[in-house]
């Protein structure tokens, strides 16, 4: 695979609370190759957004990276001072968040925000930056970009705002974009447009994308590889086709079969009983063991690391060859 663009090694994100320290992301490791799209899926509370926030250095205190390291093009970025990290954000890592309204400043025009970002990161001067901004808006499919440049975020519809946010994320020509639920707030027809756009732009710019979502359908359409998180830990990682068609971890299997699909009619859905444990009550051993139909004695005492399973890696003792 060559040198990875992003390397996350044994990442641990903790929240100290009065009742003790909660570990929201636990011993998580993965890599992203240049130009690759890695999907990160999981249910709410699985730690997927925190992973994204840790990478772009925007963990809200008291949340902190307690262990592990994050390397961008070989250089450690998890322990950089705030100012150095601020220069990396926007320039080398772009970000797209779920709600386009909160990632745009309502008091400035779309153009002002784009021009500022371009000028800061690419040092082009304001005139060249403005021309570049118009090109970017056209590229993300905003009609009449010259006109739209001088409008405020509230004059844009939800889909157009998300397009503007994508333009903003691309403005510094980053090698990596962290996209956290970029289509969740949008209607299905707009969601399809944004997914197609993100996929095309990432390919054209050779930008890698860390796509965080709870929607397996979005992953199936866009990602090259997918990581499935459960209770802050990696359950399974592998090529998207493998994970979707031949999931190895019992959790991924349960998750895949509980998704309602068209064409199944009114049949009963397979369901995983129970719920993901709260962070203060993660069971010993494998975090999934109390809900797992295939658990055996070892699962409740020893925590599995990701083991090779088919074309994937699954953190499950079923795949321990030494067994």
């Amino acid at each position: 695979m060559g040198t990875p663009l992003l390397e996350v090694r044994n990442l641990r994100v903790e929240f100290p609370t009065r009742q003790g320290t909660l570990c929201a992301v636990d011993d998580l490791s993965f890599e992203i190759a240049p130009g690759e799209m890695l999907g990160v899926v999981g249910e709410s509370g699985a730690g997927k957004s925190l992973t994204g926030m840790a990478i772009i250095g925007l963990l809200e205190p008291p949340g902190r990276i307690a262990a592990g390291e994050i390397r961008l093009e070989g250089e450690r970025i998890d322990n950089l001072p705030a100012e150095a990290m601020r220069r990396i954000r926007g320039k080398r890592i772009g970000a797209i968040f779920q709600d386009p309204l909160t990632s745009l400043n309502p008091l400035f025009t779309i153009g002002a925000q784009l021009v500022e970002t371009i000028d800061i990161h690419l040092h082009t001067g304001r005139n060249a930056a403005r021309r570049h901004a118009i090109d970017l808006l056209a590229e993300v499919g905003i009609p009449a970009p010259e006109l739209r440049l001088d409008q405020y975020p509230h004059q844009f519809s939800g889909g157009m705002r998300q397009r503007a946010v994508i333009a903003l994320a691309l403005a510094g020509r980053p090698r990596l974009i962290v996209a956290d639920e970029p289509t969740t707030a949008l209607d299905v027809s707009i969601q399809a447009q944004i997914i197609t756009l993100l996929k095309r732009l990432a390919a054209e710019h050779d930008t890698a994308v860390l796509l965080i979502t709870h929607d397996m359908g979005v992953i199936a359409e866009t990602a090259d590889r997918v990581a499935v998180l459960y209770a802050g830990r990696l359950a399974e990682i592998g090529p998207v086709r493998e994970v979707i068609h031949a999931p190895r971890h019992p959790y991924t299997r349960g998750l895949m079969s509980s998704i309602p699909k068209l064409g199944e009619g009114r049949e009963r859905l397979a369901q995983i009983d129970g719920a993901m444990p709260r962070l203060n009550a993660i069971p010993p051993g494998c975090a999934y063991n109390p809900r797992c139909p295939e658990r055996f004695a070892r699962c409740s005492t020893e925590r599995p690391s990701p083991l090779p399973a088919g074309g994937n890696f699954a953190a499950c003792w079923l795949y321990d060859r030494s067994r």
Partner: protein, 334 residues
């Protein structure tokens, strides 16, 4: 659909609802602006038979929640009428009929009072309607309801914050069932939940329907969810019903171009590799809907007639109904 009226539990007849979205009085006087109103729902008719589940789908702002709220009486309709078991719900004499329907809301975090214990929340409809008066019977009924939705009777002593989203939605369902309703209006009941929990709630709702002979109006923006629970499906666009048909037929042979677009927009989980053509454009501003068919600016089949004349919802030989000039004229293939 009138041919089935004899067996229908609920009929919505040409219902419409407007909202006043005028600016404040002073602004209107100073700037000489007229009052403005938004047609959230316009000329919607459908009926729901006893024991069936009608799914209502559409994108945000299409008026599906407004329809739900009109049916349960949270908004009076501006036009048309809603008939439940033969009686117009606008008549004061029909008030007792409302006791036979209940609603489940989308957000289980906002729809449960955080200061009440679960047992008080579940008991409220029973107490409010005076169904049970002595404490022991009430406690037994609450315990039975909690068990029915897969919770433990002991959970009645807890407060809503002690539960996860899926468990809270179970509490909402227990509350809705407490007054023995026949008809439940469910407004996006699983949209706030994770998929594995969503499967639990959908299965629970189906089991309860079989056991208690319930009739559901199930509103969702997720077509796959609706395909799993509904027997019949209505599709709304910009306040109007554009297509209604049996679920199997609607998903296998959608007729209206908008329905086709919605089905095509679902991400392909099977990864068949078929190329999707995302539909261009967005839902127009409901304050200034386009003339003619509301979908015409985005429709690949629109012609002059579509831009000037509003299509009526016409019955199709296949059994459903669609509001589309192209379908009526046979311009669209099967």
């Amino acid at each position: 659909m009138t041919d089935r009226a004899d067996r229908s539990l609920l009929q919505v007849e040409n219902a419409g609802r407007d909202f006043d979205v005028s600016r404040p009085w002073l602004n209107r006087v100073i700037e000489g602006e007229p009052r403005r109103s938004l047609r959230a729902v316009d000329g919607v008719s459908f009926s729901i038979r006893k024991g069936e589940t009608l799914g209502l789908v559409g994108e945000s702002g299409c008026g599906k929640s407004t329809v739900a709220r009109m049916i349960v009486g949270l908004y009076p309709p501006s036009r048309g009428r809603i008939v439940f078991d033969g009686a117009d719900l606008a008549e004061p004499a029909s008030a007792p009929l409302r006791r036979r329907m209940q609603m489940i809301f989308q957000d289980p975090y906002a729809s449960l009072n955080p200061r009440w214990r679960v047992r008080a929340i579940v008991a409220e409809p029973i107490v409010a309607q005076g169904l049970v008066t002595d404490r022991a019977t009430l406690a037994a009924r609450v315990a039975e309801l909690l068990t029915q939705v897969g919770l433990s009777p002991k959970d009645g002593d807890k407060y809503p914050h002690e539960f996860s989203g899926g468990q809270r939605q179970r509490i909402s369902i227990a509350r809705a069932l407490s007054s023995n309703p026949e008809f439940l209006v469910c407004d996006e009941p699983t949209s706030a939940l994770d998929v594995s929990v969503q499967a639990q709630i959908l299965n629970l709702m189906k089991d309860l329907q079989d056991r208690l002979v319930l009739t559901y109006l199930f509103i969702s923006h997720n077509l796959a969810v609706v395909a799993h629970i509904a027997t019949r499906v209505g599709v709304m666009y910009l306040g109007r019903l554009v297509e209604i048909a049996d679920a199997k037929q609607l998903f296998e042979r959608p007729r209206h171009p908008y329905t086709r677009m919605l089905i095509d927009a679902i991400p392909d989980l099977q990864m068949t590799g078929k190329a999707r053509i995302p539909v261009a454009g967005e839902v127009p501003n409901p304050l200034a809907p386009p003339a003619g068919c509301a979908f015409n600016p985005r429709c690949p089949h629109a012609n002059e007639q579509c831009r000037s004349e509003r299509p009526a919802l016409l019955g199709l030989a296949s059994g459903g109904a669609a509001a589309c000039h192209a379908v009526a004229a046979g311009r669209l293939g099967q």
